[in-house]
């Protein structure tokens, strides 16, 4: 299948500066279909900024992003979601004053049509939300409680559920297990593998090397706003990656 040979996502020389902070400098990388791709780098290396460019929050100041074979110019996160990119942001992008189920279905609400008016189907959403959450969380939060009341890890679980719950071509996860406990982390890793097996591509940002080596097929490394190298996971070692991150080794 030729379609499966073209990369799902390519960035070409993407650059973005905030005032005089050059957060991204000519970042070029590719992401294959059906794979888990990891993106690693120091704090402040620009990983989240790159994610925000791909998911339509920032627009790159220069460079091109090609998704699913077509050059994209997302003007808003809605465009990116419509194109098939779901993102778990590092700041989680939850609305604290809304309930768990409202957050899970934000902008994806289930409605019942009554003639010309479309009313929310709260029951359906709550039932579905309960299912979604219980696959991940150990201390299951009530889906009707406000997100403000959840613990750090519970929030992260909700954000991951949301991204996983809607079929999409690419799921981006920005440090999804940073605040999670052992059991929850194991479940999220299971979920990520499950998503991959269903054919989704995943972009995983993580500071947890063991996790990256365990899950991913490809690793990209960023340093100080630049993409300094990529390796097939099978062909590299943790030491090599660390060397790339610290700059001890340059491509």
């Amino acid at each position: 299948m030729t379609e499966n040979d073209t990369p799902l996502l390519e960035t070409h020389d993407v650059s973005l500066a905030f005032g005089n902070v050059r957060a991204l400098v000519d970042v070029s990388l590719t992401l294959r279909r059906g794979e888990i791709t990891a993106l690693v780098g120091d704090n402040g290396a620009g990983k989240s900024t790159l994610v925000r460019c791909v998911s339509g929050i920032h627009r790159p100041q220069s460079g091109r992003i090609v998704f699913d074979g077509a050059e994209t110019d997302f003007r808003s996160p809605e465009d990116a979601r419509d194109a098939g990119i779901e993102t778990v942001h590092q700041n989680l992008a939850l609305v604290e004053d809304l309930t768990v189920w409202q957050n899970l279905f934000l902008n994806r609400e289930i409605v019942r049509r009554l003639g010309p008016v479309a009313l929310l189907d709260r029951r359906a959403m709550q039932a579905r939300a309960r299912e979604m959450v219980s696959t991940l969380a150990v201390n299951v939060p009530a889906v009707r409680s406000r997100v403000r009341r959840l613990s750090g890890g519970q929030r992260q679980a909700v954000a991951i559920c949301r991204a996983a719950g809607f079929s999409s071509k690419l799921v981006i996860m920005d440090e999804p297990t940073a605040a999670l406990g052992v059991q929850e982390t194991a479940r999220v890793e299971e979920l990520i593998l499950g998503l991959r097996d269903e054919g989704h591509a995943i972009l995983l940002i993580s500071h947890n090397f063991a996790q990256v080596m365990r899950l991913s097929q490809q690793v990209w490394v960023m340093r100080a706003g630049r993409c300094v190298g990529g390796r097939r996971t099978a062909e590299t070692t943790g030491e090599e990656i660390v060397a790339l991150i610290t700059g001890a080794l340059s491509n």
Binding site: S55, G56, I57, S76, P77, E78, D79, A80, R81, D82, T87, H89, N91, L92, A93, L94, V95, E96, D97, L98, Q102, L106, N107, E109, V111, V117, A118, L119, L120, R122, S134, T135, V138, N139, V140, P141, A142, R144, S145, Q154, R187
Partner: protein
């Protein structure tokens, strides 16, 4: 991986109500109602006319305009905005209505023109806030000035008397103890409730108020939401204008400032946070009734005009104290 019994699992539906009633937060959400009931009890004890059918009717009638405005204000405040121009937009709507009516456009068309003018003022607020990224406060403060200026220009500073049988029915007719104006206001509140809590738009609106960044990240166009809420607020100001013209029988370019502060006060008394993201409709409606009942009661009791502002201030703060446990 089934649920396990654990500390954080919240109890089922049956126990939920029991728990709610024990929760101070639950009572706080109804603070305005509790305040209203206390107020009614006190006034009724001091003056038995207070709960006479005639007085109830006239209180509810007097509250109608404020309810409509408070509902509009709630939409705006739920997105963490504030519409300072709501009373001026009402003035503008009233004047346009009056001018159209004197220009023989006929009642229906004139009414549409009035609502339209106020809605346009709201739309402009929304467009400038959304696209200009200026603080809501300053945009609507500018519109407060601009809309009342426009109203003065259009009316040439003069009131227009409007005598129309249909309007007279609107302002004086009633079903039982409920005047038509009040029934309209309640209908508006019910529709608003459904929109806020049972439509996608309502959820998106609350999300925009709660966390614009998160809402944006989920693909909600917070700009479109902002534009929509200000237009709604403007439209309701226009509806308020019709009720006002019907009530006083004239379209005046007067500034109506008391409606502005009262509309915001009703919303805040109703337990809606000015920081956005949460809200109810019933709260502001009760808040509006509370404020109206307060002035009515003080007048009935013959409290001196100098003591009235003091009494109003104290009662407003006391009513708000009931909401102290809210979070």
């Amino acid at each position: 991986m089934t649920d396990r019994a654990n500390a954080t699992l919240v109890a089922g539906d049956g126990e939920r109500w029991a728990a709610k009633l024990k929760d101070v937060g639950f009572w706080a959400e109804w603070a305005a109602l509790v305040g209203l009931i206390l107020l009614v009890i006190v006034f009724q004890a001091l003056n038995p006319t207070f709960l006479s059918p005639g007085n109830i009717t006239s209180m509810l009638l007097a509250a109608a305009i404020l309810i409509v405005l408070a509902v509009g204000q709630t939409f705006v405040i739920a997105t963490a905005g504030i519409d300072l121009s709501i009373a001026s937009a009402m003035t503008l709507g009233a004047v346009v209505f009056g001018q159209a009516y004197t220009a023989q456009w006929g009642l229906a068309l004139s009414a549409v023109a009035g609502v339209f003018a106020a809605a346009v003022a709201g739309l402009v607020n929304g467009l400038i806030t959304a696209w200009g990224r200026i603080a809501d406060f300053i945009v609507t403060l500018g519109m407060l000035s601009a809309a009342s200026g426009l109203a003065l220009i259009l009316a040439d500073g003069k009131p227009v008397t409007i005598i129309d049988p249909a309007l007279l029915t609107l302002s004086t007719g009633r079903a039982g103890i409920f005047g038509y104006s009040f029934l309209i206001a309640i209908a508006v509140a019910i529709v608003a409730h459904v929109v806020l809590f049972h439509s996608r738009f309502g959820t998106h609106l609350l999300a925009t108020g709660g966390s614009p960044e998160s809402a944006n990240a989920m693909g909600i166009s917070t700009r479109r939401i902002k534009i929509a809420v200000y237009t709604i607020s403007g439209m309701l100001a226009g509806l308020g204008a019709l009720l006002l013209v019907a009530r006083v029988g004239a379209a005046e370019p007067a500034s109506n400032t008391s409606f502005l502060l009262n509309s915001v006060a009703a919303v805040v008394l109703g337990g809606v946070s000015l920081f956005g993201g949460r809200g109810t409709i019933i709260g502001p409606v009760v808040g509006a009734l509370l404020l109206t009942a307060l002035v009515n009661g003080l007048t009935l009791l013959g409290v001196s005009q100098f003591y009235q502002p003091l009494a109003v201030g104290v009662v407003v703060v006391l009513a708000a104290l009931l909401t102290r446990f809210q979070r």
